[in-house]
Every structure is written in C-alpha cells, then in structure tokens.
C-alpha cells in the first residue's frame, strides 16, 4: 500500500499548489546548492578547506521535502548532506563557507564543527553530530515536547539510508510512532553508505517498507523529482499536524560524488553507473518541468545561474577573509555562561 501511495504521487506530479514565484525561488535554491557544493569541493581540492561531504544529486529531495514545512513553526534535524535544506531555511552561501573554513562567524558552531554540521537556532535547526542516526531520537523527543506544549509544529528529520541500519533509527522511529509524535522521518536514499551499496545494507527492497515494523505509513518517492517529493512530504506533514503521527518517507536518489573529500569511489562503483544517474540530474529535470509549465525559460535560467555564480564567488571571498576564532574562545560554552543558549 505504501508503495502504491508513492507511485500515485509521482503520477500526479508536477501538478502542485506551489505558486510560480515560490517555484522559481526553489529553483534558485537548487542551483545555489549545487554551486555551493561544487565550490566546497573545489576549495577542498585546492587545500583551502580540510573537508567536504557533497550533496550533488540530492538537491531535489532536499528542497522538495523542506518546501512542505512551515519555517515559522516547524523544527528541523537535517543530516550532513543537507545543503539544500539549509539554504531553503535561510542559511546563506557565506554561512556555509564560513563553516567550511572554520571561521568564527560560522553560525553553526563558531568554527568548532566540521563542515555541513548544521545548527541554526533562529530557524529551529538543531545542532547535530557526525555519528549517523543520532538525531532521530532527538527528533522524536522534540515531537513529543511539541505535543506536551500543545504546539502545532512538525519536526523534519532527515538521514541517509545507511542510518536506517542503526539502533537509533529503530529506537527513535518506534518512540515517535508509539507516541504519535509529529515527526517526518525523511530518508535520502542515495544508494550508498560510503562504499556499501543497498544489498550490503538491508534485506528489504525499499527503506519505506521498514515503516510497517512501526505501524506508521511508509512512502517511497522519486527523490530526483521536486514535485513528487513535495507532494508526498506535504501529505505526511498534514497528517502529522492533524495529530495522526509520523511518516517514514524514502526519497530515492543518487550520490553523484564520492562520500566525502576523503573518499575515492573508483573501486566500488562504475563510471557507467554514475553516468546513468547523471542523466537524471535533478536540477535539469526541475528546469525542464518549470520550462514546460511556463514558469522559467532558458534565458532566465542562464541569467539566474550567472547571478548565483557571482553570489557564490562573493560569498567565498567574504568567508575566506573572515577572522579565525581566537584560541581563547575554545574554552567557552562548555557549560552555560548565564542564560540558556543564544537561540532559546
């Protein structure tokens, strides 16, 4: 049944309630996400930054999913590849690069965390760590807290399919399911946990099937299609906001780059496989959809890409010139220093 629901959603796309202006904004965010992510890779290869963990190929899943949430009241537990989620929620390219360099003005951590370890209190994006799936119990707890406080926020919690093998996935999803907590568990199934393909990770055919074990809806959707992803996640958000509990959404997509700047993917997957998926590039697909709908045309797309390239150049420079953290800052905020967090 879950799979049928997903298929139905895909068939309906790209019919959508999203207005043209919003769609253009999402397209721009997608293009910016790609440009930022590629710049991070370049900076790492130049030796300017130490590390990056690319999201190339997953932009539609990220931007389509987060579009279904209400940034004024919802809570977000993104995972490290979610550049598109963060740019959708108000993080700027400069912010991302500040984190890439580890500069003091990095809004996530003041240069303490590795790149792409998101935190943005003003947007209710909660700080995360590197061990995967650890945010899933947190999301369940935040969902429970919103219920207790009588607030109508919904919690976005994303992770890769590798995380669904972990105990914290089971414990967190089960907890949310038992309590009917308003949490959307959004799995960006990019087919690989570093070098390990799906057949080494799970015996089920789809991550969405795992939902049956928790008595919650599980839906699988084409994660390279913004409209399809948005439609499925939006229905899940509506259910959660109505008090009907969590949903597990699997967005089927593909990691076009290596796992991280420290990875070399040449010995575990073929160039042909990557080329096949590159043909389904989510940005190209979204662009074609928008052109068909008359929302975008080629000239406008080119102008937009040029604007984004300039923005990313300027953001890179600004971040590069920003000050480093002082060593004296490293001992601060081990514990509260009066007041409980600048964001709360």
């Amino acid at each position: 049944m879950a799979r049928k629901q997903g298929a139905a959603a895909e068939a309906r796309a790209p019919a959508t309630d999203l207005p043209a202006e919003r769609l253009l904004g999402m397209y721009r965010t997608m293009v910016t996400t790609r440009a930022v992510d590629e710049r991070m890779w370049l900076l790492q290869r130049q030796g300017a930054i130490a590390f990056t963990i690319p999201c190339k190929g997953q932009e539609a899943a990220q931007i389509g999913a987060v579009a279904a949430f209400d940034p004024s009241r919802d809570w977000f537990y993104p995972y490290y590849r979610d550049v598109g989620v963060m740019l959708s929620l108000g993080m700027t390219p400069r912010d991302v690069f500040l984190g890439g360099f580890g500069k003091f003005d990095d809004p996530e951590s003041g240069g303490r965390q590795m790149p792409y370890h998101w935190s943005l209190p003003k947007a209710r994006v909660v700080t995360g760590s590197s061990p995967v799936a650890t945010q899933i119990p947190h999301a369940a707890g935040t969902g429970m807290a919103l219920q207790l406080k009588g607030e109508d926020g919904v919690v976005f919690c994303s992770f890769g399919e590798g995380s669904t093998s972990k105990g914290d996935f089971h414990e967190g999803v089960n907890f949310a399911a038992v309590r009917k907590a308003p949490v959307i568990f959004f799995c960006e199934n990019n087919q690989y946990a570093i070098s390990e393909g799906l057949e080494k990770q799970m015996a089920v055919r789809s991550v969405a099937e795992r939902a049956a074990a928790y008595g919650i809806p599980g839906e699988s959707v084409d994660g390279n299609d913004v409209f399809a992803t948005y439609a499925v996640v939006r229905r899940a958000v509506e259910r959660a906001r109505a008090g009907d509990g969590p949903t597990l959404v699997e967005a089927r997509t593909y990691r076009l780059m290596a796992h991280s700047s420290g990875d070399d993917d040449r010995n575990y997957r073929t160039r042909e496989e990557i080329a096949e998926w590159a043909k389904k590039d989510p940005i190209q697909l979204f662009k074609e959809q928008l052109i068909r709908q008359g929302v975008l045309d080629e000239a406008r797309a080119q102008a937009l890409s040029a604007e984004v390239a300039d923005e990313v150049d300027a953001a890179t420079d600004a971040a590069e010139q920003a000050p480093w953290p002082e060593v004296a800052d490293a001992t601060r905020f081990v514990y509260a220093e009066g007041g409980n967090g600048r964001g709360r």
């Binding site: 809570w75 809004p107 996530e108 951590s109 003041g110 303490r112 965390q113 370890h117 935190s119 943005l120 209190p121 909660v126 700080t127 760590s129 061990p131 650890t134 899933i136 119990p137 947190h138 999301a139 369940a140 707890g141 935040t142 969902g143 429970m144 807290a145 919103l146 219920q147 207790l148 406080k149 105990g167 914290d168 414990e171 967190g172 089960n174 907890f175 038992v178 601060r332 905020f333 081990v334 514990y335 509260a336 220093e337 007041g339 409980n340 967090g341 600048r342 964001g343 709360r344």
Partner: protein, 337 residues
C-alpha cells in the same frame, strides 16, 4: 552541614529514595517544563518506587512510560530539552546506561559546545548505581568514571537524604546535562531529617561529613557510609578521621579536597568502582600536583578489584566491595605510616 537556603526543620527522618521522590515532586510542581521519562516510571512508579505517586499527580503527559530502549530515553530527552522542556530521564540501572553512552557523551555533553551556545541541553539523567544488593554483573556497576571524564557533563553522586534531595533539585534547575547517580544500596537508609522548604545543595561542592585531625578519607555513595563507620571505629583507638563526601564528581571540589589533604597530610580515597583509572586516580593526582609537600604519607586508594564487574554469589560480592573493616585497616596503616 549542607548549604541550604532553608532554615525550617522537619521532624520525620527520610530515606534517600524518599528524597529523590520529593525532589522530583517539588520540582515538577514548581516548573511545568519538568517531565520524567523512562521505563516503568509511570504507572509502576519505577522499579525502586522512586516516582511512586507522580503519575497520579502529574498525569501521563509529564510522567512518561517509554519503550525499553535506553538510547532513545536519553535521546528523546535531549530533543525535549532543546525544545524547551526540562526532562528527567531515568535509566533503570546505571549498568544499562551503556546503550545510551553515545547519546550522553557525544550528544548531551556536546550540544552547547558544538553549537557555541546556540543550543543548551538542560537534562537530568538519573541512574541507580552500585553493589551490595545481589545484582551481579549487570545490576551492581559503578559507572561514574566514564561520565566524570567528560567535559560538558556534570556528575553527581550524593550519599545522604538531605544532599540527595538538594542536589537533585539543583540538577533539575541546571542549564546543562547532569548525570545523577543514586546508590541503590542506601536507598532505604540511613535516614535523616531533611530541611523543609526549598532545600537546595549546590553542584560542585564537597562536604565534610565528619571532621578529624589525623587522616582524611574521601568517598561518595555507599562507601561514604562505610568510611563513616570506619572513622567511628577508629575514634575508639585514638585515630581521628576526617570524612569528606565528594557529592559531585564533575566538577570536583578542588578546594575542599586540597583543604583536607593539607589539614591531615594523610589521604585515602575510597570507591566501589575498580581502582585503576577511576575517581581515585584523579583525586590522587590533584593532591599530588598541588599539595605534595603537605603530605606525610603516600596517597592511598581503597577500591574494587580489577575484574570486569561484581559477581553475584554472596561471598564474591562481599569480596568485591570495600568493607568498613578493610577501610579501617587501611586508615590505621595510613595513620601510622
């Protein structure tokens, strides 16, 4: 004795278990953000009855029976804490905190630091610990050294009902994660009269439970009581023992530790955990670094043996745990070194 904001005196002596329950009840009544969550804490009132009555008083929204899953008990409490609640997460036995170790150490302890104060994690993790209750390898452990090693956590292990209540109330009000260890061997006694009213004991302050002149013994939890017994026994022999109750293991009360070391010049640290790389090592190193020339004898440690955990059979359990007699023997040796 304990630093209290209260002057009123109640008459009825109370147990450590009652102290825990009273602290939670008072804080939940005072602050609607305080919730209690854990396995069996609701309808059942906790396997030790620490939360008996709270479910009826505060309801199932604030006293939450969770699935049997330690990582999510702590992890969901973290998610509730960042969202503005003040959760108390009960781990049924400290031995079962290991499945939640990642959530406690990698997450709760680092939320504030890694977000550079963007987020805070006001959370209490309560866990009964320690042996002497025929709990075998997995219901007897002293796990405090694991957590006391971690900056970002506060670790508390009171030994008397007044401290238990006052420190738990302080822990619930703290803006940072506190791991709160309750020695299950002293849940029932010894009882003491707890000051009435809003009785608070500050985290990070040790307490001289018995002043003395000749030797200092430093302990916490059940061992504190065995040290008091040993001190009483030695008083008859003319050996005056000062007993310092650490109460908080992180941050350690450096001042109080150095003060007693300088006063007597002879220090023994007693703990139930196995000896190597435990609390005793840190206390000893601190004294060695900062008060070496005030010492008249080598620092001594009386602690558990280097076996993985406490065996179940009564003679083996007795062998594992430092006894009042064993402590007295060590202090006698120290006094005459």
């Amino acid at each position: 004795m304990a630093a209290s904001q209260s002057t009123a005196v109640a008459v009825k002596p109370k147990s450590n278990l009652e102290a825990v329950r009273e602290a939670m009840r008072e804080e939940m009544a005072r602050d609607p953000r305080v919730i209690l969550m854990g396995e069996d804490v609701g309808v059942r009132g906790g396997v030790f009855q620490a939360s008996a009555g709270l479910y009826d008083q505060f309801g199932n929204k604030r006293v939450i029976d969770t699935p049997l899953a330690e990582s999510v008990i702590v992890g969901a409490a973290i998610g509730a804490a960042v969202a503005g609640l003040r959760p108390i997460a009960e781990i049924q036995f400290a031995d079962f905190s290991h499945p939640a170790f990642d959530q406690i150490v990698n997450e709760a302890a680092r939320v504030r630091y890694r977000s550079r104060n963007g987020w805070g994690c006001p959370l209490v993790i309560r866990a009964p610990f320690g042996g002497g209750v025929h709990g075998g390898l997995y219901h007897s452990q002293s796990v405090e050294a694991f957590y006391a090693h971690v900056p970002g956590l506060k670790v508390v292990a009171p030994s008397t009902p007044g401290d238990m209540k006052g420190l738990l109330k302080s822990a619930i009000r703290d803006d940072d994660p506190v791991v709160f260890f309750e020695h299950k061997g002293i849940y029932g006694g010894p009882r003491e009269v707890i000051p009435e009213g809003d009785h608070l004991v500050p985290i990070g302050k040790a307490d001289v439970k018995r002043p003395g002149e000749h030797v200092s013994v430093i302990a916490y939890g059940l061992m504190l009581h065995r040290c008091l017994q040993a001190a009483e026994d030695l008083a008859g022999e003319g050996i005056s023992v000062e007993v310092l109750d650490l109460r908080t293991l992180r941050p350690l009360d450096t001042e109080a530790i150095l003060a007693t070391a300088r006063k007597t010049g002879r220090v023994c640290v007693v703990y139930e955990d196995n000896k190597a790389l435990g609390v005793g090592a840190e206390v000893s190193a601190l004294i060695a670094e900062q008060a070496l020339f005030d010492l008249d004898a080598p620092i001594m440690r009386v602690a558990g043996p280097e076996v993985p955990a406490m065996p179940y059979a009564p003679p083996l359990e007795e062998w594992f745990m430092p006894s009042a007699e064993g402590i007295a023997e060590a202090l006698r040796h120290l006094a005459t070194f």
